[in-house]
Amino acid sequence: MSLSTVQESITKESPKAAENIVFDTRDLNLWYGETHALKNINLAIKERDITAIIGPSGCGKSTYLKTLNRMVEMIPTVRTSGDIKYNGKSILNKGFKVEDLRTRVGMVFQKPNPFPKSVYENVAYGPKIHGIRNKKILDEIVEKSLRDAFIWEEVKDRLKENAYGLSGGQQQRLCIARTLAIEPDVILMDEPTSALDPISTLKVEELVQDLKQDYSIIIVTHNMQQAARISDRTAFFLNGEVVEFDDTETLFSNPTDQRTEDYITGRFG
């Protein structure tokens, strides 16, 4: 390795050519009945970034995430104000079709939740409901998605078996593959590893970092080291507010807000 290449590798990676904002949240407020769960959220989430959301229990992390694909609407008492723009379009008005949004914005949940079907059917489910019927194309999609989710090798011989026969970590990667199968732009992940053992957790983390090449990823996590390990930018939520949103390294090394520092160093409460 010549000296000059070293020098280059040392200087920080240059910023991406186009720093597109994929989700632009402006003055978002959200109430569950009387509970004011999100307060004046302003967050601009960049494309092809891994954005982590951390914060204590009940601070509104999951709520925010579920607002991004409007899953939060499944709770009937929810009201919102403010605006979220997905690639420039407001998604919060009723005219915007949620099913459409959700094909663009995939979601992976805390507990692995494969369908009680075969591995193959799990992955093919999304394409099928969106109208792909051709068996050959489906086969291709399934294989590609499973490969992209780093799980192809482990399941290729058991595609017809029930997904519940897989281990927890494999199930979670299967769920990620299922999401990849509909080729979303954004993948939301709500504590995707909190139900997994440490080994599976690491595998999923590596997968997430790999997916960054092609997807924008927003991940909620209780595990600060995880946020530190895998994300580019981190938002710290507290009581429904965004306290700090910065490059992960800055936030974890040198946070601006004392509350952030207290939280990440475990001095909270």
Partner: protein, 317 residues
């Protein structure tokens, strides 16, 4: 903290007290031994009940078959137990039973499952909390009331629409039985569907599925065993139902597939024969047991089948 532990140190000699009380524990050890025995005896009562049922039915049925051949009983299409030359073919009864059950299931099956889908998938919590108990009230209405309703209300309505229908017929009790079974199927299917974890539904929604798609492609397949089991139990219930058919379907022992006709089910036959105080010793008397045995075996098979299905196809989430 230290002050606490100091100040409280040994104020209450819990350990010594416990050690002391231990000596007086013998009484409780007697209880410990006695209780399981008593409870076991209680548990035996249900076994005795089964033995009682089977023994009763079986011994008298054996007596019946000494008088009437099995072939006649199971293949005879004539049932005239009281005539001078009595016939003891059970087929008319089986026919009535099956007809009424099929009609009932044609009503209860689709409506029940649709109601289950609505309650489990579409209704908000509040709506479900109101609707489900109301629906269950339907199941709590005594069957005699349904019988009264079928005979005095549903039949006349059917006849005004379809005059061919007899004043006693199998259609009306079949339909009312179906209505009675709706809540059973709705409730059991709804339970099966509700026990499909929400996370799986969310998984489907997150892929852009509509509610209908998540229901038919994910929830129902996952809950299928429970739904099938609910159908089988519904059939079993229809087969065993007595009062509605007794009142509304008359007592003609017709062997026909004509819905408009009066037919008799196995259960109604039992009521008829038992009448007030069934006369012991006659062939008719024994036929009652033979029919009851057949009924029992039928429902037993259904129940075992339902259990098997819900076991065999149960998904682990």
């Amino acid at each position: 903290m230290t002050t606490n532990s100091e100040s409280n140190q040994n104020t209450v000699p819990v350990r010594e007290m416990i050690e002391e009380k231990k000596k007086s524990r013998n009484l409780s050890s007697v209880t410990e031994k006695l209780v399981p025995t008593i409870l076991f005896l209680f548990a035996m009562i249900s076994i005795l009940t089964t033995i009682g049922i089977i023994w009763t039915l079986f011994s008298e049925t054996v007596e019946f078959f000494k008088r009437v051949s099995m072939t006649e009983f199971f293949t005879g299409t004539e049932l005239n137990p009281l005539s001078q030359n009595p016939d003891f073919g059970i087929l008319p009864l089986l026919n009535g039973t099956i007809m009424s059950s099929v009609i009932a299931m044609l009503v209860a099956g689709p409506i029940g499952i649709m109601a289950a889908i609505y309650l489990s998938e579409y209704a908000s919590d509040r709506v479900r909390r109101v609707l489900k108990p109301m629906l269950e009230v339907l199941a709590g209405v005594p069957t005699i009331v349904y019988g009264f309703f079928a005979f005095t209300f549903v039949t006349p309505i059917i006849r005004s629409i379809w005059p061919e229908v007899g004043a006693t017929n199998i259609l009306s009790p079949g339909i009312v039985m179906g209505i009675m079974i709706i809540p059973m199927i709705a409730s059991l299917s709804e339970d099966a569907m509700s026990s499909v974890p929400n996370s799986i539904r969310e998984g489907a929604f997150a892929l852009g599925a509509t509610r209908l798609e998540s229901t038919f492609k994910v929830v129902i397949p996952a809950a299928l065993s429970g739904i099938i089991a609910s159908f089988i139990l519904g059939i079993s219930r229809a087969i065993g139902e007595t009062m509605i058919v007794t009142i509304a379907s008359g007592s003609s022992k017709n062997f026909t597939f004509d819905l408009t006709q009066s037919m008799q089910t196995m259960t109604a036959y039992i009521v008829e024969v038992a009448g007030g105080e069934a006369p012991a010793g006659s062939t008719i008397y024994f036929s009652l047991y033979a029919v009851a045995m057949t009924l029992f075996v039928f429902t037993l098979i259904m129940n075992l089948l339902a259990r098997y299905v819900s076991r065999k196809f149960r998904e682990e989430y």
